[in-house]
Amino acid sequence: MTLFNDPRWGEALGHLPDYLGSHVRVSLAALALGLAISLPLAIAARHRPVLRGALLGVASVVQTVPGLALLALFYPLLLALAALALKWFGVGFSAFGFLPAVLALALYSMLPVLRNTITGLNGVDPALTEAAQGVGMTSRQSLLMVELPLALPVMMAGIRTSAVWVIGTATLSTPIGQTSLGNYIFAGLQTQNWVLVIFGCLASAVLALAVDQLLALIETGIRLRSRIRTGIGALGLVAIVIATLAPAFSHGGARIVVGAKTFTEQYVLAALMSQRLQAAGMPATTRQGLGSSVIYDALKSGDIDVYVDYSGTLWANQFHHTDVLPREQLLAELKTTLSKSGITLFGELGFANAYALVMPRQKAEALGIKSVADLAGRAGSMTIAGDYEFFSRPEWAGLTQAYGLAFKAQRTMQPDFMYAAVSSGDVDVIAGYTSDGLIAKYDLVVLDDDKHAIPPYDAIMLLAPKHGEDEKLRAALQPLLGAIDLPLMRAANLRAAGNDATSSPESVAQWMWQSIGKK
């Protein structure tokens, strides 16, 4: 099988109308909002050096914030605003997906527009503005008839830069729940499906180039007073918008939205749940790549309808408990706490995906390490790696406290690369996941946590408030409860970590369903 006849290209293409459409909508909305704010500000600031300095300064600072961080910041901000709006006006709004993405991207788009508009307007020959006054123009007429038309080429260059930035950065809006071409990239990165990553990068690059060239056409059209060029450019933009809006209208109607966090197991489980719902005649779609805290709030506010979380994660991260309870007790406590927010803990899937310290079997045997307590004595000369959140999670604090762990160095990496890194000896120990198929693949061992420093992590299915009593939905998902044991999940994860046509979350989910049926 060569790269070109890989069936995953076709699969990726199937998602294109949805992903591209959402991407275009969020980018254009952000650009339009950015322009609507920046242009008047730039015009107001052009003759006011202090305001101009302040504006450009703020916009530059915004630009230095990494795109992902800016997007992530808008989520809690809007969440707080939405809560206030609900309290004061009785009307809430969704702080999830589209709105935070548009606001953050609009902010991101402002610098080039502000800078180029101010530069363009200030670059107009003073002799011409004076001539405009001399022939009897008001300052408004001078702005509209002389200054803006003359500054337009420079302004358009800024708008083009903005457009390319926004379209590129919009790929990062996936983790805050906005579907975009970033879905390809995030999903591909998590499941090591490089075909998806390449497809996503190409699609967003082509989109950015296309929009840039159409804007360039409009720009030269305006400059050369060629109505044809301006018209073709504008038509092209309109065509893109219409083409990407069409699928959005066609699949209207209520859909069940299944959420997934940012790792392979979640993609597979989300695919499994949405397949079950569809089999039961309920239209379902998935929202993948959501951050750990984003996904819970999204469920609470009804932006997604169902997802799988882990008891320990909710316990420690969402509800900030520092103590660790026995498994059953912790589940019971969680159920009560969740029901206060209207969320239904529908049930356990049958496996736990806990953090665990993992190292190569050979090395562990050679050093006589079986448990975390054994490891503690040797940690001083070892390097540990964990995912993006592990070292800031309470479990890590609990572990180091309980066993007095102190490593020589700790490194943060993309979860799917950790196993290879520990297997090859780049790091000595990793904070892996017990359900990960790679543990078996690389012949690694999970070290015992005798002191129970890490809480249990049963996989549990959560239902949004409006679906707590939804019998049809419950019936469709009921067969999954208690049906997925650790060996099955590990095998599924291992399949999904492969890099071929059978490793897509959808195919793995189908395989899982067949396995469940055989039991």
Partner: protein, 266 residues
């Protein structure tokens, strides 16, 4: 003749009073008169002219335009009533010649058809071929042609007064001469009152009825060329020195009979 423009003790300073651009100037410009204001850079001559159409507001004194204090007239309305020609034409590069010429009537709300007729009339007036220039852009024209368009634009709304700021300064001598003569003819034909700013005394003497000389914001002398030549002001004498020397040399180099003297003075 009555004064159409009357400057009374007009003053204007910049930089918070440190730079006196115009210092207590009083001057009458009669209806139909062609006044040239001559001075070096920094003499305040351009400031003086801009005070007339209120591109600049004076610190003290007043200017009457047709008997009315110009401070009482809406500045925008005032400017639409007064023709304004700047160096290099000051044409808007993104507008056609026709749009440039018709801009003030357009601002006044004149119907498009009337503007088109007026533009053609004005192109005739400044001796540019209608069909050839109407739809062209300023960058396609020569410097002299652009300045002709600049004059046409200033005349579009049929003003009684035209202000010209170094209008022919950047042109080559032949074009400059032709344009100066053509404008002078228009000034007479249309009964205009013109104030022209220039640093070139020769041009001032050749075109204007009356010349005002300014230095460091003050009006040193004013009068017909003949009256000025009798002035005791050393600076006025200095300014008149150049045209005098030029005239003598030209007379010597270009005798009326057409035979140039060989090896003139060094």
């Amino acid at each position: 003749m009555t004064a159409l423009i009357r400057f009374s003790h007009i003053s204007k300073s910049f930089d918070g009073g440190r730079l006196k651009a115009v210092d207590d100037v009083s001057l009458d410009v009669a209806e139909g008169e062609f006044l040239a204001v001559v001075g070096g850079s920094g003499s305040g001559k351009t400031t003086l002219m801009r005070l007339v159409n209120r591109l600049i507001t004076p610190d003290g004194g007043s200017i009457e335009v047709a008997g009315e204090d110009n401070a009482q007239i809406d500045a925008i309305e005032l400017r639409r009533r007064i023709g304004y020609v700047v160096q290099n034409g000051g044409l808007f590069p993104h507008m056609t010649i026709a749009d440039n010429i018709g801009i003030t009537p357009k601002l006044l709300g004149t119907p498009a058809r009337e503007i088109a007729t007026r533009v053609d009339e004005l192109l005739d007036l400044v001796r540019l071929e209608r069909g050839q220039y109407r739809d062209r852009f300023p960058h396609e024209l020569s410097g002299g042609q652009r300045q002709r368009v600049g004059v046409a634009r200033a005349l579009a709304a049929k003003p009684r007064i035209v202000l010209m700021d170094e209008p022919f300064g950047a042109l080559d001598p032949l074009t400059r001469d032709a344009l100066g003569d053509d404008y002078h003819a228009l000034h007479r034909k249309l009964g205009l009152t013109t104030i022209m700013i220039t640093h070139d005394m020769t041009e001032a003497i050749l075109l204007a009825d009356r010349v005002a000389v300014m230095r460091t914001g003050r009006l040193l002398a004013e009068g017909t060329p003949r009256e000025l030549s009798a002035s005791t002001e050393p600076y006025v004498g200095e300014l008149l020195g150049t045209p005098r020397r030029q005239a003598e040399r030209l007379k010597m180099l270009l005798p009326p009979d057409g035979a140039a003297t060989q090896g003139g003075p060094a």
